[in-house]
Structures are given as structure tokens and as C-alpha cells.
């Protein structure tokens, strides 16, 4: 009997039911970098609005939000975002930050992509040499970008024996690539956080629009899903766009890695959302 | 104190039909017969564990049925002995005190705090007897209480049965051991394929059975 009371107490003591929180669906790459843990507490302190972060792939984040189960999204797949907007599921699309995708692979670089200045040529070299390549295979933003790069290069790697689909998150995919001596496409943040343990080198790390990784915020359309916390989502957007917060985003972990994990965009999109 | 009248009970492939059977206080009724004759079924009907499909069983006072391999609770010997009284709503203290007296009667008072499941075969039957007797039943229904027991335990249990008969309890004893039946029974019934073939007072039943089938069974010549 005592045990039961203890359990009831424990359950009641769990936070987060105190006030309806804002549900933000975002990608694992953003969440796992720790950026949100660094900037969201300030928002909650100022507004009293707690935020719940659900970290999934971009595809799943948009699927959850597209059923009205999240109030806002922070994602990085312009094509999927455009579709989300055209389906009238999202509003207030705003570009918040960018970084870049990197092509990483074994330091020996068997396909010889290290000196390539055109990322499409790098992909073509991998294809021609048949060097192993690990794909996320999971509809994440990174996966969507990888697919569009193969397509732009005019190649179809699916079904080739050297083309592996991991079906897991970025960190696990990097580990897999490291173990297999394979190439993979990664976001900058995840790679910087994990690279000390990996036998992987950044082989294409250039300022190329095709490798631009753009993070956007959308609020879920309250006309379509009347229960969403639209005002709270708007407040969060305003907070994220504030100059001091944008600066904090840019400074996040810069001292540790010597470069910005996220460069603030202040609302100006570089990649077209279409 | 138990009287069965016109009972009929059928299973697939078996039927028991007994027109009249009675056992009086202070009397041991032995039920003998080959395996599958319906002895255990009869006992369960007498004990009220099953209701006969036809006919009636009158019980004046409670009757306790004792299984061939009695179920012992996963508790101490004393708790097992007190179980019947606890079921009747006796306070724990009083039930235990009473049960301890019965454990003494069956020679198990030294085992009171042991787990019942650790007892040997003969001790288990004696514990089950103590548990049954603790509720002061008018009748005891014993289903082969001494099967597979050593001679010392058989002797103890038979002595207990005699003592309870002397105390005025009615006892129905199902047994395969014809010598035991002779030693204990005041009256005997021979059951064959669900029917009473012969019934009568003990010395006559065993020495001069009237029916040739009874004769064959008692002399060990019946093949079934």
C-alpha cells in the first residue's frame, strides 16, 4: 500500500503537466547538438511557456505536425517544407540558421574526392569507383539532400552493392560509415561532435550552395488544426529571431570547435523553399 | 450421518448409479472395488464437491473429503491445520491454538512452524487429517488415505480412524487395501462399473460374500 502511494506521488511530481507546453517537433541533428537546450530555457523563463522538444527525422517531424500533434517545427528540407506549406498545414515559414552538409569518408579517400571542387563530381567519383557509401535511408533532411545530390549528378545508386542504407540516426550512421570505411553525407554539427571517435575525414567541406543546410521554423496552421498553440508558437518565433538570440545561436559551441555550428540567417532564406 | 438416495451421475463413457447408501455416526463404511468403479466419484458426491445429476445426498452435519494426495497450502504446517477454522471465520489466535491440539493428535506438533510442503508423504496425510478434523466434521470421507505409505504411517492413520470412529464420527473409507478394509470396516460396499454389487456388515461381507463377483474380487481372481 505504501508503495502505491509513493508511485502516485512520483507520477504527480513529474513536471510538464503544470501548464500546457508548446510542442516543437525537430530533427535529431538540431536536438542532439544541444543547441535547443542552450537557448530554449531562456524563452521559458521570459514567457512562462514550457517547450517540449520531440526529436525525430524531418519527415516524421512534418508528419507529426501535419496531424496537429505538434505546434511548431524546426526542420531542414526545403522541398518537404514547401509541400507542407502548400498543403496549408504550416504557416510563418522562417529561415533561422544554416550550416553545411559535409561529405565525409575514410582518410585514405579511395574514390579521390578530397580535391574535388564540385560536389556532384565527388558523388560521380564515388559512384564510378564503387566505394562504399552509407545512406540514412530514413526521409530525414540529410537523406532528402543526399537523394537530390545523386539526382542532380544524374546517378541512381539504389541497389548497388556498395550503397548501404542504415535506417538510423546521423550519429549511428557516422559510426557505421567509420566501421565500414564508407563515405556518407552528414550535417556539420553531428560530425563535429562525434569525429574524435571516428576514422572519418571531412573530404568535401566547402561553401557550395548544393551543400547548404538551411534550418527553418514553421508554425502549424491554426485554421487547419484549431487546438494548436499558435500564439505560443508565434512568441517562440519572435524570440528566436531576436538579435541577441540569433547571436547566441551563432556563438553556440564556436569556442570549442573554432567555427559556428549554426550561422544565424535572421529570417532570410538562401535556398528557395519550393 | 450421510445418506444418498437414487443418485445418478454420468460422465462420457461412465455412469454411477446408487439407489441407497448410508453411513451412521460411529461407523466405518469401506468402499472397495477395482479402479474405475466410481469410488472416488461416489466419495466426492457424498462430500458435496459435486452435485449428483439425479438423486439426493443428505448430510446431517459437515462432511470433509480428503483427497488421495491432499493439497497442502504453501504455508506452515500450523497454518494448514488452522485453515479450515480460518475459513469459518475463527480469529487467527484461537484457530491456531485449536489446530495445534489436532497436530498433537496426529503427532505433528513438533513440525508446526515448518513449511507444509516439506513434509513426507505420511506426514502430509496426517496433516490433512488434522486439518479436516479441526473443523469437527460429522463425517470423514477418505480417498485411499494410506496408498503408498510406509507401515508405520499406515498404522498411525488407522489408529486415528479408529479413534475418530470411537468419538462418534461417520467414516467412509475408499481403499484398495482389502486387509485394511477388513481391519477397519463395520460395513462394506463392493462397487463395480458404477453399480453397488453387494453391501453388508463387515465380517459377513468379507467371509461369506453372496455375489460371485464379490467373491472373485475379494479372492483376487477378478480380472479387469
Amino acid at each position: 500500500m505504501k508503495l502505491r502511494w509513493l508511485l502516485a506521488l512520483l507520477l504527480l511530481a513529474m513536471p510538464a503537466w503544470a501548464r500546457p507546453p508548446l510542442v516543437l517537433a525537430t530533427t535529431t541533428s538540431v536536438n542532439d547538438s544541444g543547441l535547443l537546450d542552450a537557448i530554449l530555457p531562456g524563452f521559458t523563463r521570459e514567457t512562462g511557456i514550457p517547450v517540449r522538444v520531440i526529436a525525430v527525422g524531418t519527415g516524421q517531424a512534418l508528419a507529426i505536425a501535419g496531424r496537429g500533434d505538434a505546434d511548431a517545427v524546426l526542420v531542414h528540407a526545403p522541398h518537404l517544407e514547401a509541400r507542407f506549406l502548400s498543403e496549408k498545414k504550416g504557416v510563418l515559414h522562417t529561415c533561422l540558421a544554416k550550416n553545411r552538409f559535409l561529405l565525409v569518408g575514410p582518410p585514405t579517400d579511395p574514390a579521390g574526392v578530397r580535391w574535388e571542387t564540385n560536389v556532384l563530381n565527388a558523388f560521380r567519383k564515388i559512384y564510378l569507383t564503387g566505394a562504399p557509401f552509407v545512406s540514412r535511408g530514413d526521409n530525414s533532411g540529410t537523406y532528402v539532400r543526399e537523394q537530390s545530390l545523386w539526382k542532380a549528378a544524374g546517378l541512381k545508386p539504389q541497389g548497388k552493392p556498395w550503397y548501404l542504407e542504415s535506417g538510423s540516426g546521423m550519429g549511428a550512421t557516422l559510426t557505421l560509415a567509420s566501421e565500414k570505411g564508407a563515405y556518407t553525407l552528414t550535417d556539420l554539427g553531428t560530425f563535429l561532435f562525434t569525429k574524435t571517435r571516428l576514422k572519418l575525414a571531412a573530404l568535401f567541406d566547402r561553401d557550395d550552395p548544393r551543400m547548404l543546410n538551411q534550418y527553418s521554423f514553421m508554425a502549424v496552421n491554426p485554421k487547419r488544426f484549431p487546438w494548436v498553440r499558435f500564439n505560443e508558437a508565434k512568441a517562440l518565433l519572435a524570440y528566436l529571431l531576436r538579435p541577441d538570440v540569433q547571436a547566441a545561436i551563432g556563438d553556440y559551441q564556436r569556442a570549442r570547435f573554432g567555427r559556428s555550428l549554426f550561422e544565424p540567417l535572421g529570417g532570410k532564406c538562401i535556398l528557395p523553399v519550393r | 450421518m450421510i445418506e444418498a438416495e437414487g443418485i445418478v451421475h454420468r460422465y462420457p463413457g461412465f455412469s454411477l448409479s446408487v439407489s441407497r447408501l448410508a453411513v451412521e455416526p460411529g461407523e466405518v463404511l469401506a468402499v472397495v472395488g477395482p479402479s474405475g468403479a466410481g469410488k472416488s466419484t461416489l466419495l466426492r458426491l457424498l462430500g458435496g464437491l459435486e452435485a449428483p445429476q439425479r438423486g439426493r445426498v443428505h448430510r446431517r452435519g459437515p462432511a470433509v473429503y480428503l483427497d488421495q494426495t491432499p493439497y497442502l497450502l504453501e504455508r506452515s504446517v500450523l497454518e494448514n491445520a488452522a485453515f479450515g477454522l480460518r475459513l469459518k471465520g475463527w480469529p487467527a489466535q484461537e484457530a491456531r491454538r485449536r489446530a495445534l491440539g489436532w497436530l498433537e493428535r496426529v503427532g505433528l506438533s513438533g513440525f508446526a512452524d515448518r513449511p507444509a510442503r516439506a513434509l513426507s508423504g505420511g506426514e502430509r496425510v496426517r496433516l490433512a487429517l488434522a486439518r479436516a478434523l479441526a473443523v469437527e466434521p460429522a463425517a470423514l470421507l477418505l480417498d485411499e488415505p494410506t496408498a503408498n505409505l510406509d507401515p508405520a504411517n499406515v498404522a498411525r492413520i488407522e489408529a486415528l480412524i479408529r479413534a475418530e470412529r470411537a468419538a462418534g464420527r461417520a467414516v467412509v473409507l475408499v481403499t484398495h487395501n482389502l486387509f485394511q478394509a477388513r481391519r477397519l470396516a463395520d460395513r462394506a460396499v463392493f462397487l463395480l462399473e458404477g453399480r453397488v454389487v453387494e453391501a453388508g456388515p463387515a465380517p459377513g461381507f468379507f467371509q461369506r460374500p453372496a455375489d460371485p463377483r464379490t467373491r472373485a474380487f475379494l479372492s483376487g481372481e477378478m480380472v479387469w
Binding site: 513529474m14 513536471p15 542532439d32 538510423s168 571517435r197 | 470433509v64 504453501e74 497454518e79 479450515g84 479436516a132
Partner: protein, 211 residues
């Protein structure tokens, strides 16, 4: 509060709650089925239920609790109560099945004993419950173990939200995904430890009432 402690306590609380919910329904059902002899259909259903894929259960409850879903109005998606409910569905067949199997072997003996001593059917049932306590302990331990080590349903229904629904298993997945394998291993060991301690407590409590 230390976050690891917080996650551990939450795991413990939500798994206990789920086990409790499952036990409230599963124990009586298991005893009842064991006492009256479960038919083939009931047994097949229970045994199949023991192999319910957690991710399928998770998806089912996602759709159920989704704002568009039948119970969306409760606003339970991504909360601990929703996790507890989904997990209880996973523990329920285990608890009912174990209890049924254990009770079945004792049911006839207990019923005969109680009836022969003049007891009622209700008393027979209560005695069966008391006699089955070792099995009940095993059933509860199995249910709890399945629930606390489960990751599929708790991720889909709970969302692995920090300070809200993150539990030990989802934390292990998160740390592994981030490449923090050492942290993941520590959390994994904690998970094993919690499971061990709870099973131990269950056994000690379950057998202490034996007298």
C-alpha cells in the same frame, strides 16, 4: 535534480504505473482463466499477446491519442500517462498469461480443499490468489521487466521529451545516436540495476507474506 536520477525515477514510476494497471486487469483475468480452465482461444490470444510488437502498440496508441484521433481531446499524446497506458497493454498479456499458467496447476486442488472444508467459491478464489503469489511475483517481474526495457512504444507515444517523457531506454538510444557510447553504457547499466533491484524487491515482498 541530477538529470540521470530524474530519468531513472521517471522510468521507475512510469513502468511501475504500467505494471500496476496491467496487474489490476491481468491478475484477476489470469486467476479466473486458470481457475476455470482457459479454452484454446483464450490461451492462443494470451500467448500471442505476449509477443505483441511494441512498435505496433505504440503506433496504435499514437493514432488513438493523436489530436485527430478518437481520444485526441484528452491531450495525452507525448505525456507519461499515455506512455503508462501503452506500456500496460504490453505488460497485460504477460501478467495474465503467467498468472493463468501458475493458477491452473493449483486451481483444482485449492477449490477441492476449500469446498471440502465448507468454504465458499469466493474463499476458494482468494485462497488461489494467495497460493499463486510466487507466480504472481514472477508475472509482475516479467511485466515490469518487459515495460522498463521497452523502447519502441515509449518513443512513439512519449516522444522522448527531455524533462517530460525521457526514460532510461530512450536516453540510451539518444546517447547512442549522439555517439556518446560511454554515457549510453552507463545508462544501460543503470537500467539493468533498476530491473534487478525491482525484481529482488518483488521476490522479497512476495515471499515475506508467506507464513
Amino acid at each position: 535534480m541530477n538529470e540521470v536520477l530524474e530519468i531513472t525515477l521517471r522510468s521507475l514510476a512510469v513502468s511501475s504505473a504500467a505494471t500496476l494497471i496491467a496487474a489490476v486487469f491481468g491478475l484477476p483475468l489470469g486467476l479466473w482463466l486458470g481457475a476455470r480452465g482457459a479454452g484454446r482461444l483464450a490461451r492462443s490470444l494470451l500467448y500471442a499477446g505476449m509477443g505483441l510488437p511494441p512498435v505496433v502498440v505504440g503506433l496504435f496508441f499514437y493514432f488513438l491519442f493523436s489530436r485527430n484521433g478518437p481520444l485526441g481531446g484528452l491531450g495525452l499524446l507525448y505525456t507519461l500517462p499515455a506512455v503508462a497506458v501503452a506500456e500496460s497493454v504490453l505488460a497485460f498479456p504477460l501478467i495474465a498469461g503467467f498468472t493463468m499458467a501458475g493458477a491452473a496447476s493449483r486451481a483444482e486442488g485449492v477449490r477441492r480443499l476449500v469446498k471440502s472444508l465448507g468454504g465458499t467459491e469466493t474463499q476458494a478464489f482468494l485462497t488461489l490468489l494467495a497460493e499463486s503469489r510466487r507466480v504472481v511475483v514472477a508475472a509482475l517481474a516479467a511485466g515490469f521487466g518487459a515495460v522498463i526495457s521497452e523502447v519502441g512504444a515509449v518513443t512513439i507515444v512519449g516522444g522522448d521529451i527531455r524533462h517530460a517523457t525521457r526514460v532510461l531506454t530512450t536516453a540510451v538510444v539518444l546517447e547512442t545516436r549522439k555517439g556518446e557510447l560511454e554515457r549510453a553504457a552507463v545508462l544501460g547499466l543503470l537500467l539493468l540495476g533498476v530491473t534487478l533491484v525491482v525484481s529482488g524487491l518483488l521476490v522479497v515482498f512476495g515471499e515475506r507474506e508467506a507464513a
